[in-house]
């Protein structure tokens, strides 16, 4: 059984339908990349899975139970954690406090403040610094660390490389690589196709609210994905199914 399964999900921003009938699943231990142009609905989809955005149709199942109507904080307690786009740290609070906040759900697990600091050594010296004063890379590390502090069974990463220097991106992905090596289940949004293909077992490409291509990372060619990305061959899941 899949850890996370999404079935015919519709999500709206007012009149705009951002996600249209999307279905997919993520198995335990998988690393799945979600790619697509700006406005394709990736962030909305991730936020809906985390419970930060209400869905208007379809359902979300996590570990077999329907969580479509479950509040976000309860999903965290079940083991679902999102690193939101733009990091969204509590800027007036210190790194340590940001990490400690995430213990609220009380989910048992191996992650502690010290372990996060070991995983992201750059944060060690900034432990007592207010998050508003951190560099972009440090902020992103804190945001990922904060999500890890909830001891998630699946980690949703939304564009962790956004607005970071190339060096900082490498550092952040090094820690993502470490998480993958420990068998974590990860669903991540990434604009950089090379990176997506490098880290993911499976790749899904969204276009205008649909998933237009999905498959194993090694089976898909760059051309297939680029075509889907730009919509050269419009084929939606529903059309393929019929």
């Amino acid at each position: 059984m899949s850890l996370l399964s999404i079935n015919a999900l519709d999500i709206r921003h007012g009149l705009l339908q951002a996600v249209r009938g999307v279905s997919f699943h993520v198995d335990q231990g998988e690393t799945v990349a979600l790619i697509g142009a700006n406005g394709a609905g990736k962030t909305t989809l991730l936020r809906a899975i985390a419970g930060a955005h209400r869905v208007s149709g379809g359902d979300i199942r996590f570990d077999g139970s329907d969580i479509t109507a479950t509040p976000a904080y309860q999903r965290v307690a079940m083991g679902l954690a999102l690193v939101p786009e733009g990091r969204r740290l509590f800027a007036a609070m210190t790194v340590e406090e940001n990490l400690q906040i995430a213990r609220a759900s009380g989910r048992k697990g191996e992650w502690t403040v010290d372990r996060v600091l070991e995983t992201f050594p750059m944060l060690k010296a900034r432990r007592k610094a207010r998050c508003g004063t951190l560099s972009g890379g440090e902020q992103q590390a804190t945001a990922i660390g904060r999500a890890l502090m909830t001891n998630p069974r699946i980690l949703l990463l939304d564009e962790v490389s956004l607005g970071l220097s190339p060096l900082a991106v490498d550092l952040v992905y090094k820690s993502v690589e470490y998480l993958i090596s420990t068998g974590s289940t990860i669903l991540f949004v990434e604009q950089d196709l090379n990176r997506a293909l490098k880290f993911a077992n499976r790749v899904m490409c969204m276009l205008e609210g649909h998933i237009v291509v999905q498959g194993n990372a090694k089976d898909l060619t760059r051309e297939q994905i680029t075509d889907a990305y730009f919509g050269h061959k419009r084929r939606t899941q529903s059309e393929r199914a019929s």
Partner: protein, 302 residues
């Protein structure tokens, strides 16, 4: 009255203002809600203590055991019933709804208790007029008790916010209620607890208000003004600042009264205005853009 004595009295009076302002400052600074029913709620607590003291002859300090939990429940209900709903409709609505609530409370109290002036002082023996003789100048015991209580309350709350998990959650929820849910915090619950805590401090404010002065159902508005001045002078969001603000206000009032009998209120409001205008002047452009965006937003939304 000499100058030093005036300063000491003013500082102690500041403790009283900080006590009164604590709940307001907590809601304003931490939860970002301007509670205009603050004064009326303190009077509700004072009447609660008075009833218990009058009917059952309980010491008002003992009556806190009943009144503080009740105030906490009122805070919870206030958050769920009024503040949470009105906060969804924009920034002006909570101000208006708490203003309306103040009117309802005041008139409700008037309906039930009438216009008689009450005080808690008769129920605590001679505490409210006893004083210590320190080097020839007399300092009221109640004033010192109030000051110490204010320090304990504000300091305790500050420590609670800084070092406990719930305190951290309250601060984080105030900063970003959406994101806090994503890290597993039930923001609705946290806000309700915070409102309950704020109202418990309002209950304490009611006790010291009733011990220090006479009150009637409409006494809340003047208390609200002093509390507001203390909170604003001290800078919002800082509980220690509220103590500082209360002391500045108290000292200004006592020294003002030394100069002229009418100087009490005048000097207090004068210092408040000076500090306010000074701040506006210093933070000029930032504040203008802030106001423009806020007020503009309000008008666009309506």
């Amino acid at each position: 009255m000499n100058f030093i004595g005036g300063i000491i009295d003013g500082v102690l009076l500041g403790g009283y203002y900080a006590m009164i302002a604590c709940g307001l400052s907590f809601m304003f600074g931490v939860m970002r809600i301007i509670n205009l029913a603050h004064g009326a709620l303190a009077i509700v607590a004072a009447f609660g203590l008075w009833i218990i003291a009058d009917r059952w002859e309980y010491d008002p300090f003992l009556a806190l055991i009943i009144v503080l939990p009740v105030m906490g429940v009122i805070g919870w209900v206030l958050q769920r019933g009024v503040l949470e709903r009105s906060a969804r409709s924009g920034e002006l609505i909570p101000i208006l709804s708490t203003f309306g609530l103040a009117i309802v409370l005041e008139n409700g109290l008037f309906e039930y208790f009438g216009a008689d002036v009450r005080s808690l002082a008769p129920y605590v023996g001679s505490l409210s007029y006893d004083s210590f003789d320190i080097g020839g100048s007399y300092i009221g015991e109640l004033a010192i008790l109030t000051f110490v209580a204010a320090i304990l309350l504000l300091g305790g709350l500050q420590l609670f916010l800084t070092y406990t998990p719930l305190g951290r959650q309250i601060r984080a929820t105030a900063e970003d209620p959406d994101t806090v849910e994503l890290v597993g915090v039930n923001s609705r619950f946290v806000n309700s607890v915070a409102a309950a805590i704020a109202l418990v401090t309002v209950g304490l404010a009611g006790l010291f208000l009733g011990l220090r002065t006479n009150f009637d159902p409409y006494s809340g508005s003047l208390q609200l003004i002093f509390a507001f001045e203390a909170a604003v002078i001290g800078g919002t969001g800082s509980l220690w600042g509220t103590l500082r603000g209360g002391i500045v206000l108290g000292v200004a009032q006592t020294l003002g009264a030394n100069i002229h009998p009418e100087g009490f209120l005048l000097a207090g409001h004068g210092v408040f205005l000076l500090i306010l205008v000074g701040r506006l002047y210093i933070s000029g452009p930032t504040l203008q853009t802030f106001l423009r965006s806020k007020i503009g937003g309000v008008f666009r939304a309506s």
